[in-house]
């Protein structure tokens, strides 16, 4: 009898351990690996979030997750990748609040409505960090100092128009002062400036003070004090009611149009991961709040974030309000096409004139000079599109380079024309190179349509043939060896998603 009870218990526990698994949907989702697109390089916080997620998710589902890094343009490149895939639920977008800022400033709301916002999994309150070693490090002193300096106080942080920047503008508004925002390439470099006493305050994440005892959180924008930092006052305590809910979130989105059944499958998975003790411990130790907001609440948060960024980005001048400015179209519109046409025309005319003159042998030399000159002029004209700024604006430095490039080229042109007898036109088999370049272009087109492996095999093989190599056995081994090498090293070890080609993607 005991034996049967034991077996019974075993069966129950067996059953129990499996009941935790999320089963496939009725239509059999997922039947292939799920790709998660991350908009930063490996090592970024969202990358770590995603990889930790896949690790925990593996406990609850037998789906395979593949993380793909698509860095660039603050998430626009990753977003375009997600939107280029079919809405079949196999491509997730790992996103953060920073993306909303970028989407609002580049594509407007079109980017935001193209996605279903599945789940928000984490939230870190924004905080003001100061340097203990400086005379002023408490919030009240910062405010007092800022009002005294009347705009001369310096705040440092990453990324103009990003969450930290926009949050600090909101903080200034609430406390009725204005400081200077000096942006750095990354939060780390801005923190270095704070430690070097070049700025008075930094806006970021509470976790950023953990490594260095000189850093101190002056105020935090959460509803109540943080557990890890019980001495840090909230903005609410300091007198502002509007700053108790400023936080950076991380979560997942998916292209619009995925069947409900699959959305529910994800919803269940996200909740399971959110409740997992390992997941919670891992993040909470680092001072990150683990949350779960499902599609409906998340959507609301996104809507309010969108309005938030629209309001402040207009204020900073990143979103242009006066689009009827004639120059504004120069960057992209019809006027721009005309400019480029003009650019090509100048070069063609110069080329034609020189070719039909006595200076024919100087053709390539003069064309390079006109290329640089016309490029300078083109960029100079385009630089008028940039908004003006009271201090050094975005057009100052490009124009500085242009003003150096133009006289140097004119000088070179004079030198070239006066020393023309010394010139020897580089000789050699130019046609061969041009043919080879054409062949390389064919290879690139091949990669795009037929994928990396097929095209590279063909390219290496034919390329050796073109160069005059005729040992076919060796050619086969080398071409094939390269394919194996790139598959094992780049695809398998380094997770570089080599293109499989549009045609193959459509067929399979």
């Amino acid at each position: 009898m005991k034996k049967y009870i034991l077996i019974f218990l075993l069966l129950i526990s067996f059953n129990y351990s499996f009941s935790d698994q999320i089963h496939k949907t009725e239509s059999g989702f997922p039947s292939k690996p799920i790709k998660i697109i991350v908009y930063t390089s490996p090592g970024g916080l969202i990358d770590i979030t995603t990889r930790k997620f896949t690790e925990i998710a593996a406990k609850y589902s037998d789906a395979t997750f593949v993380v793909e890094n698509k860095p660039g343009a603050g998430g626009i490149v990753a977003l375009k990748k997600v939107l280029s895939q079919p809405a079949d639920g196999y491509t997730l977008f790992a996103c953060t609040k920073s993306n909303i800022s970028k989407f609002v400033s580049t594509g407007g709301t079109a980017y935001i409505t193209a996605l279903d916002w599945l789940a928000m999994l984490m939230a870190d309150p924004e905080c003001v960090i100061t340097n203990r070693k400086m005379d002023i490090s408490d919030w009240d002193e910062i405010v007092k100092d800022a009002r005294e300096k009347k705009g001369g106080q310096i705040w440092v942080g990453p990324d103009t128009g990003g969450l930290d920047h926009v949050t600090s503008i909101k903080i200034w508004e609430q406390f009725d002062f204005k400081s200077k925002w000096i942006p750095y390439k990354s939060g780390g470099k801005a923190l270095a400036a704070l430690l070097g006493k070049q700025g008075q305050a930094y806006v970021g994440n509470p976790r950023e003070v953990l490594g260095n005892p000189d850093l101190k959180i002056a105020a935090v924008s959460s509803e109540t004090r943080l557990e890890q930092f019980p001495d840090v006052p909230t903005f609410k305590e300091l007198g502002s009611n509007e700053l108790s809910n400023e936080y950076m979130w991380r979560g997942f989105a998916i292209k619009k149009g995925v069947p409900n059944e699959i959305l529910n499958w994800y919803s269940e998975l996200f909740q399971k991961v959110n409740n997992d003790p390992n997941w919670r411990i891992f993040w909470e130790k680092g001072g990150i709040e683990v949350v779960y907001y499902g599609p409906e609440t998340f959507e609301e948060i996104i809507n309010s974030d969108t309005k938030f960024f629209q309001h402040y980005l207009e204020k900073i001048g990143i979103i242009k309000t006066d689009s009827d400015n004639v120059l504004a179209n120069l960057g992209t519109g019809k006027e721009f096409a005309l400019l480029v046409l003009l650019f090509l025309l100048i070069n063609l005319i110069v080329g034609f004139l020189v070719y039909n003159s006595r200076n024919r042998k100087l053709l390539s030399r003069i064309l390079i000079i006109t290329f640089f000159l016309s490029l300078s002029i083109l960029f100079y004209i385009l630089s008028f599109v940039f908004p003006e700024s009271d201090v050094v604006g975005p057009s100052v430095v490009p124009r500085l380079w242009i003003f150096l490039l133009i006289p140097l080229n004119i000088l070179l042109l004079i030198k070239t024309l006066t020393n023309k007898n010394k010139v020897e036109e580089p000789g050699g088999n130019v046609n061969k190179v041009l043919k080879y370049i054409l062949f390389l272009i064919v290879y690139l087109v091949g990669i795009y349509f037929l994928g990396y492996y097929i095209s590279s095999f063909a390219f290496i093989f034919v390329s050796m043939y073109i160069l005059g190599y005729r040992k076919y056995g060796t050619m086969l081994i080398i071409s094939f060896g390269w394919i194996v090498f790139s598959y094992l090293i780049f695809y398998k070890t380094l997770y570089v998603p080599l293109p499989i080609g549009r045609i193959i993607e459509i067929l399979f």
């Binding site: 001048g317 975005p394 430095v397 080879y436 370049i437």
Partner: protein
């Protein structure tokens, strides 16, 4: 000394079979990543980070720094043998390394680059271990005005790089600076010259440009000259530097290592600038500067010692302040975070084993690199003997996959090819292409710091801060000197303009 006893503990941490194996693995992977045009040290480390997520934090860190060190050396292999610098910093190594190969002496270039790399790496690590705290304090004092002045000082190296072709060299450098302004303006957040193409929001990536300008243009050039038909005849058995040859380079290596470490410490500067500046310093101090660019071993030694020692420097702000000093250390911070560790001064207290284990592994990795390099050099030198008909297609294949791997972007492959064609046209018209890379590396540093400095303290800040003023004067003086030396009819006004 406390540090020494900690260091002994550190060696204890990495004393086992597994850590040594990990270091060896890291060094091999680093050499491959560095040698592969397209995988820069930061790329190599970044791509392998996911691989370390499941390891213990100490092993993960050991693996990543071994890769970091070896990758800085690896770049010189392809720079010397085929003029395809594997990393941006090894562009400078190619200046004299490749001419050595062309002269049939690739062994000299490879030998010198290996020894300079490992000695430089060692010196950088020692400076890191013993002087990191005071140096970090100095680095923090570096104001945007000084960063700008440093960038300008770096740009003045173009004057001596260009020699008689100085106008073309400056045009190339300024072209690099100008295309570096393409993308979202880091200060105001507006997009500049992007033409609505989202791939251009971050500007042209450096690595595809580097591969195109060097590796591809070199092959185009050789195809034009019929180089693919020529059979390389290099005597592989002889032509290695002797101990005496190495000893002659001792001052060059030590000086360049110190320059490299110091520049490596400054957050945002880095290996590439360090190589350019120490190459320039070595050339200026030399009795026969005209030999540089034609296969002068001191040039190779200066470049390699500087870029390898910058690794130790870059780790200074990471460990003492918790701030990444380079792209690679930024990746290291991410790697530490997934293991629940926050880099910074507290790490010395909370995880001394990890920190000193890291120091010990840096020293060991340099030794391992030396051993592998010595054996390996006999292997890489054979690259120069592969028939060009096989080698060229493979270089194209590597270039294309390498450009793609930078951001998994097809656009980068296209830009690599475009830079290749452009570089070929420029080179056949006697424009040096290295200044373009220098311009692309320095452009962002120069511009953002210029604007930050002015926003913080107005235009006169560059002249009222002593360090910035000294750097600017040094730059001006070096320009004038380079100029008087290279040109009988100096157009100094023009050169001042270039500043």
């Amino acid at each position: 000394m406390e540090i020494l006893s900690h260091l002994v503990e550190g060696f204890g941490v990495i004393g086992g079979f597994i850590p040594i194996l990990i270091i060896m693995l890291g060094v091999i992977m680093g050499i491959i990543a560095g040698a592969m045009p397209g995988l820069s040290p930061s790329m190599g480390v970044a791509l392998l980070v996911p691989f370390t997520y499941t390891m213990s934090p100490t092993l993960a860190l050991i693996l990543l720094v071994s890769i970091y060190i070896a990758a800085n050396y690896g770049g010189s292999i392809t720079a010397v043998t085929i003029n395809a610098p594997g990393t941006p910093a090894s562009v400078v190594t190619a200046f004299d390394g490749y001419p050595l190969t062309k002269k049939g002496k690739p062994g000299i270039g490879l030998g010198v680059s290996l020894i300079s790399s490992t000695v430089g790496g060692f010196i950088g690590t020692l400076i890191l271990i013993f002087f990191s705290a005071p140096l970090a304090k100095v680095a923090l004092k570096f104001h945007p005005a000084e960063y700008f002045a440093l960038a300008i000082f770096g740009l003045t190296t173009v004057a001596s790089l260009g020699g008689k072709n100085w106008i073309k060299a400056f045009i190339a450098a300024i072209f690099g600076l100008l295309i570096n302004t393409i993308g979202i303006d880091p200060i105001s957040g507006v997009s500049r010259f992007t033409f609505g193409i989202s791939f251009l929001y971050d500007g042209f990536a450096l690595i595809p440009a580097l591969i195109g300008l060097f590796a591809l243009s070199e092959i185009f050039k050789q195809l034009e000259e019929g180089g693919h038909k020529a059979k390389a005849k290099v005597d592989l058995s002889s032509n290695w530097p002797t101990i005496r040859d190495y000893l002659k380079l001792k001052f060059t290596i030590i000086r360049s290592s110190i320059i490299g470490t110091i520049i490596g410490i400054l957050p945002g500067a880095g290996a590439t600038i360090a190589s350019f500046i120490s190459y320039d310093a070595t050339k200026r101090l030399s009795k026969n500067p005209e030999d540089f660019g034609k296969g002068e071993v001191r040039g190779v030694a200066a470049a390699e010692a500087a870029n390898s020692s910058s690794v130790g420097g870059a780790l200074v702000p990471l460990l003492t302040l918790g701030i990444p000093g380079s792209a690679t250390t930024a990746v290291l911070i991410g790697a530490l975070m997934i293991h629940d560790l926050t880099p910074g001064p507290r790490l010395f207290v909370s995880n001394p084993g990890l920190v000193y284990g890291l120091f010990a592994s840096l020293l060991v990795a340099n030794v391992v690199l030396l051993v592998f390099g010595l054996f390996g050099s006999r292997l890489w030198i054979k690259v120069t003997n592969i028939p060009k008909k096989i080698l060229f297609p493979l270089i194209f294949a590597v270039s294309i996959i390498g450009s793609f791997a930078v951001q998994n972007s097809f656009f980068d492959i296209i830009s690599c090819l475009a830079f290749g064609v452009f570089g070929w046209i420029l080179r056949r018209n006697k424009y040096p292409v290295a200044p373009i890379i220098l311009g692309m590396v320095l452009g962002n540093i120069a511009e953002t710091n210029f604007r930050r400095a002015v926003m913080m303290g107005g235009y006169d800040v560059f002249f009222t801060r002593p360090a910035s003023l000294i750097l600017l004067i040094l730059g001006l003086v070096s320009l004038i000197f380079a100029f008087i030396k290279s040109n009988k009819n100096p157009k100094i006004n023009k050169m001042k303009g270039a500043k």
